[in-house]
Each structure stands twice: as structure tokens, then as C-alpha cells.
């Protein structure tokens, strides 16, 4: 990909005898909001740390905006990172810390301080500018971290689990903040998270890691569209007769209940079909059959949810790459 903001090639990292990352390669398109997914221990934070040059890779290379991260200082001011569990200095006012970061980026002190103040105001903690980090709640510290990552409007921003440990209200504020700050369109944001709904909501591309290996990488649209699946929410639970009728259709392979009112219907591969028109016809037959049996579909969508796809691919033992388009 010629226009990649982040290019990862053959990254391998071991901690002692444990392999944290093995031959991981993918690219992040410029201007995208890219989600990095994976179960605990998949290697997401390790990969972030290598991109940020906190950790040294055993093999492979990473380029951010065309610059090898081994020369990360050349990216001064163009790369912002929210490390997962890095702690701000306790004895230094938060304004002074952010100002110092911008001074290191090359800004004159007065401009750096003005930018730092604006960033703190933007995340709603401007009143604490002269206080130490000990005066902030957990949610405020996360927001300070986000402010730090977006400071100076860098071109590439890495956010490692920006909403972990936050209550829903604070998590929503952080997500809104990311979307708002992203709105300029110049920025490429890479977010690692366990919250798949969050990733599906704000990301347009994802990569999934499992046990240190890349399982899949592609656009969210392509990943969630695959699989010939139909997810239907009905007004009330389906009677056995309705389920039997749906399962008996030649276009239906299986019907599974996924929630009190939610059903996943896997469409069968029918010989000689495969076009969009055939898919539409199959969906229409499923919905019509449900209606004929007195079950009213309230909502439906085609394809996987990201969560289903994630569980499907990370449930595999082998971790072999899955083509997601």
C-alpha cells in the first residue's frame, strides 16, 4: 500500500522463550481509524510499544509515515501515543508536563503552553492545569492521556485501550473526543481495545491478533459483510414451529438464537446462485416465511457483527490468517 500511514512488516518479538509477536505484517491506510483487536495476551500492547519504539523488535521493520521507527525522533510532533499504563510525573503540574512535551516537539515555550492549555480545556480538565496528576480521577487521567496524544495535532495517533477501566459516561466522552479530534481528516488513528462495539462504532479498518499472530486485517465493512449471515430481531421469541419452518427453507443452512429476541440465520450456498439478486431473494424468503408464521421482524442486518467474527476467528486454535478482503 503506497499510501500507508503505518507499515508493519514481519515483526517478531520474544520475551525470554515466550513469543509475543510472530511475523506480524499489515498496513494502516492514511486517514483511517484503525482498530487493533485481540484477546488478552494477543500482543496488541507489545505491537504498540514496538511502533512507539518503547520495545525493540527482534525482527522485522515498522515505518510510520515512511520513517523507520528506529529513528523515531525524526517523527517529532507527527506521532502521538497514549500508552496503556504509563504514569505521568506526580510532582510536576500537568500543564508543565504537556508544555514540556510540546517544547520537545520544537515549539517555542509560549506557543507550547498555549497549546497545552487548549488541549486540557478540550478534554475538560483545564481547571486542573496547575495541579499535579494526583488531583485527577481515573477518568480525568485517561483524558489527560488522550490530550497528550492529540497534542500538536499529530498525523498518526496510537491509543492503547483508551477507554479501559472507565465508566460508560467517561468512555462515551473519550469516544466522542476521538471522533471529534479525528474530524479534521488529516489524522490516522490506531486504537487497541477489547470493546468490540466501540471498535465497530468508530473504526473503519481493523486487524485482529491472536497469540501473537495476525489473524485478519481489512475494512470493517468487508469483515462484517462476509459469511452469508442474516441477523434478525423479532418482536417476541420464535415459536418452535417458526424456527422449524425457517430451517426447512432451502436457502437456510442454520438458525441459532443469539439473544432473547435475536436470531442468527446462516444462508445456505445454493448451486448456481451467488449474485446480489440471489442473496436479496434469499433474505426476502426468510423474512416472508417468518411473517407468514406470525413472527414480525423488527430489525435485521446482513453479515457478521464484529464481535461474532472476532469470536469465530480467535476461537480457532491454529491462528491461521483469514482473508477478510
Amino acid at each position: 500500500m503506497a499510501d500507508a500511514a503505518l507499515s508493519i512488516e514481519g515483526i517478531r518479538k520474544c520475551f525470554g522463550r515466550s513469543v509475543a509477536l510472530d511475523a506480524v505484517s499489515f498496513e494502516v491506510p492514511r486517514g483511517s481509524v484503525f482498530g487493533l483487536l485481540g484477546p488478552n495476551g494477543a500482543g496488541k500492547t507489545t505491537l504498540f510499544s514496538i511502533v512507539a519504539s518503547f520495545l525493540r523488535a527482534d525482527a522485522g521493520s515498522i515505518r510510520v509515515l515512511g520513517v523507520d521507527v528506529r529513528h523515531i525522533s525524526e517523527l517529532q510532533g507527527r506521532l502521538g501515543i497514549l500508552p496503556q499504563d504509563a504514569v505521568f510525573q506526580r510532582n510536576v503540574p500537568i500543564l508543565d508536563q504537556l508544555t514540556f512535551f510540546r517544547v520537545l516537539d520544537g515549539q517555542p515555550r509560549a506557543a507550547a503552553e498555549a497549546e497545552a492549555r487548549a488541549a486540557l480545556e478540550k478534554v475538560g480538565i483545564g481547571a486542573y492545569a496547575k495541579r499535579g496528576v494526583h488531583a485527577l480521577s481515573h477518568g480525568m487521567v485517561k483524558r489527560l492521556g488522550v490530550a497528550q496524544a492529540f497534542l500538536g495535532a499529530p498525523e498518526v495517533i496510537l491509543l492503547d485501550e483508551p477507554t479501559s477501566g472507565l465508566d460508560p459516561q467517561n468512555a462515551r466522552q473519550i469516544r466522542d473526543l476521538i471522533v471529534e479530534l479525528q474530524a479534521g481528516g488529516r489524522t490516522t488513528t490506531v486504537i487497541s481495545s477489547h470493546n468490540l462495539l466501540e471498535i465497530q462504532e468508530i473504526c473503519d479498518h481493523v486487524a485482529i491478533l491472536d497469540r501473537g499472530r495476525l489473524v485478519t486485517c481489512g475494512s470493517v465493512k468487508a469483515i462484517t459483510a462476509g459469511g452469508r449471515r442474516l441477523e434478525v430481531t423479532f418482536g417476541r421469541p420464535l415459536a418452535d414451529a417458526v424456527r422449524t419452518a425457517l430451517a426447512a427453507l432451502d436457502v437456510v443452512h442454520a438458525v441459532e438464537q443469539r439473544g432473547p429476541l435475536r436470531y442468527a440465520i446462516t444462508l445456505a450456498e445454493v448451486a448456481g446462485s451467488g449474485g446480489d439478486a440471489d442473496d436479496d431473494a434469499a433474505v426476502a424468503r426468510v423474512l416472508q416465511t417468518a411473517l407468514d408464521h406470525g413472527a414480525t421482524p423488527r430489525a435485521w442486518k446482513e453479515g457478521h457483527s464484529l464481535e461474532e467474527f472476532f469470536l469465530q476467528v480467535t476461537g480457532k486454535r491454529s491462528g491461521e490468517p483469514v482473508d477478510a478482503g
Binding site: 518503547f54 523515531i72 502521538g80
Partner: protein
């Protein structure tokens, strides 16, 4: 490495180092150590002055110094420090006599030609300062690496700039504390013992402070190396203390069994640092070069490790 980043990081870290708990502990330890040593050694001098005044004897520098040299505190301190320095050089009787002669000349230089009390205080400070200096430098990196706070800097400055910036910052902070401490002691001594001219005291105090700054550099570089290699501040402090104290102890006790073990003291500047107070400029220059050499080696090793390690 970026010189601007080095300077910025040095100023930032020296500015905030004293505000941290560890910085305050260092500052208090430095002042306490310096002032306690001064107080301990000032007592015999004050007694001499008091006695002379009571007897109505005229106070001259020569008279006070003569009596000071006879004071057990001053004499034993100087003999012990300078004698232990010469001990490694003793090979046979003739060499021993020669060494003792050198020590006598050295003692005369420090006590007769220079303000005696200030010389004694500086000698003791020289022995204790590496331990005090380590209090101000054991956490150069370890705490920030452990808490991962250093990552906020790593994405904005290269590792070399961070490494050298922080060591330089610690050197600036310690230099300022040393100048203040020696200035305070010198002024205090001048008011307590006015028979020394302030010019002579200030010159010798200034020289002593500069030599102390010089000798603290290799220990700071050593602390930087260990602190950059060990993620726990407590672990870093423990290892630094064991290394600083272990090397001279091993040398002293080791050479009792096997003379060659005395060379261990040259692993650190312990074996050469007192030569900074020698009367011969050649020896002083040699000791200064050795201190800078130790600093360069420790900086190189620490920087190399810091460059390669995961942070």
C-alpha cells in the same frame, strides 16, 4: 542525539528533581552530612580559640593550626584518609618509608599551606560524597521505567538525548547543591574562625567544591548506568550502595590476604580521587583525567545498555 533535547531534558530534570521526595531526601542528606562533618571538626577549633582567649594568648593562624594538628579529631581524620590512600602503594620497607614521607608532605600541604580545617572537612566530604550523590541519582531512570512515565519522553526525543540529558541534569543539580554546601561551610568557618583570611578560605573552598563536582561525575555516571538497567528504584539504590561500599571494602580486606586484590579499588575512582588534593599539579591533572575517564566509561556502558533495552 539532539543537543537541544539534551539541554531541555537536563534543565527540566534538574528543575524538578529537587521537588520530588527523592530529591528532597538527597538535599537534606547532603546538607546534613556536610554540616555534621563541619560541626564535628569545628568543635576542637572552637575549644582552641576559647582557651586562647581565656588565657589572653594572641590568636594567630600558625598557632591555631599547630594546635589543630595536635587535635585527635583532625589528626586521626587526615591520617586515616591519606594513610589509607597510600596503603596500596606499600610493597617493602623502603617503599613504605617513601610512602610515609609522601603522606607527611601531603599532610603539611593540606594543613599548613591551606586552611587546615577546611581541608579536613573536604577530605571527609570526599569520602562520603559518593554515597550522598547516589541518593540523588539512583532514581535517574529506574522509577520512570518502572512506572513507564519515561514513555511520554521516548516518543518525543531519542534515547541518547534522554540518557545524557538526565545525567547532565543530575550533574547540574548536584553541582548546585555542592556549591551551596561548600559555600555555606566556607562562610560558616570564616565567621567562626576569623583568623583565616576570607580570600584564602574562599579560594580553597571553591577549589574543593570544583573537585567534588569533578569526583561526583563518575559516580553519577555509574548511578545512571545501574538506574537505567534496573527497573526498581529500591533495587537500583541497593545495588549502587553495595557497589560503592563493596569495592573499597573488598580492596581493603582483600589485600590483607592477597596484595593484588588491592587493585580492585581502581574499579571505581576510590583509588585516585584523593589525588585531586595533592600538592603536585601533575598528580591533580592525572586524577582529574582519571575521573573523566571513569565518567566516560560508565557513560558509554550505561548508554549502550539503555539504547538496547526495552523501556
Amino acid at each position: 542525539m539532539n543537543a537541544r533535547h539534551v539541554a531541555l531534558i537536563a534543565l527540566y530534570s534538574s528543575r524538578y528533581s529537587v521537588r520530588s521526595g527523592i530529591g528532597l531526601v538527597f538535599l537534606l542528606a547532603a546538607l546534613l552530612f556536610g554540616l555534621m562533618v563541619s560541626h564535628m571538626l569545628l568543635q576542637p577549633a572552637e575549644k582552641i580559640v576559647k582557651k586562647a582567649r581565656a588565657e589572653g594568648v594572641e590568636l594567630t593562624t600558625e598557632r591555631v593550626v599547630e594546635r589543630l594538628k595536635d587535635s585527635p579529631q583532625v589528626r586521626s581524620a587526615v591520617d586515616w584518609i591519606l594513610g589509607s590512600q597510600a596503603a596500596s602503594e606499600i610493597a617493602d620497607d623502603q617503599a613504605r618509608r617513601s610512602a610515609q614521607e609522601k603522606v607527611r608532605a601531603w599532610t603539611a600541604y593540606l594543613l599548613d599551606e591551606r586552611p587546615a580545617l577546611l581541608s579536613t572537612i573536604l577530605l571527609i566530604l570526599f569520602w562520603g560524597w559518593p554515597f550522598v550523590a547516589s541518593l540523588g541519582a539512583f532514581d535517574l531512570f529506574s522509577g520512570d521505567v518502572q512506572s513507564r512515565g519515561i514513555r511520554y519522553h521516548l516518543m518525543r526525543a531519542d534515547r541518547s538525548s534522554i540518557y545524557f540529558g538526565r545525567v547532565l541534569g543530575a550533574a547540574l543539580a548536584q553541582g548546585a547543591v555542592l556549591l551551596f554546601l561548600v559555600g555555606l561551610i566556607t562562610t560558616f568557618l570564616h565567621f567562626k574562625l576569623p583568623f583565616y583570611g576570607f580570600g584564602a578560605m574562599a579560594r580553597w573552598g571553591g577549589y574543593g567544591a570544583l573537585m567534588m563536582i569533578l569526583v561526583s561525575l563518575p559516580y553519577l555516571a555509574l548511578c545512571g548506568w545501574i538506574s537505567g538497567a534496573i527497573d526498581s528504584p529500591f533495587g537500583s539504590l541497593t545495588i549502587i550502595t553495595v557497589v560503592l561500599g563493596g569495592v573499597p571494602l573488598l580492596a581493603v580486606f582483600g589485600e590483607m590476604r592477597w596484595e593484588q586484590l588491592g587493585w580492585i579499588r581502581y574499579l571505581l575512582p576510590w583509588g585516585v580521587q584523593l589525588n585531586l588534593f595533592q600538592p603536585s599539579p601533575v598528580q591533580v591533572a592525572g586524577a582529574a583525567a582519571a575521573c573523566l575517564g571513569y565518567t566516560a566509561v560508565f557513560l558509554y556502558l550505561g548508554h549502550r545498555h539503555f539504547q538496547k533495552r526495552d523501556l
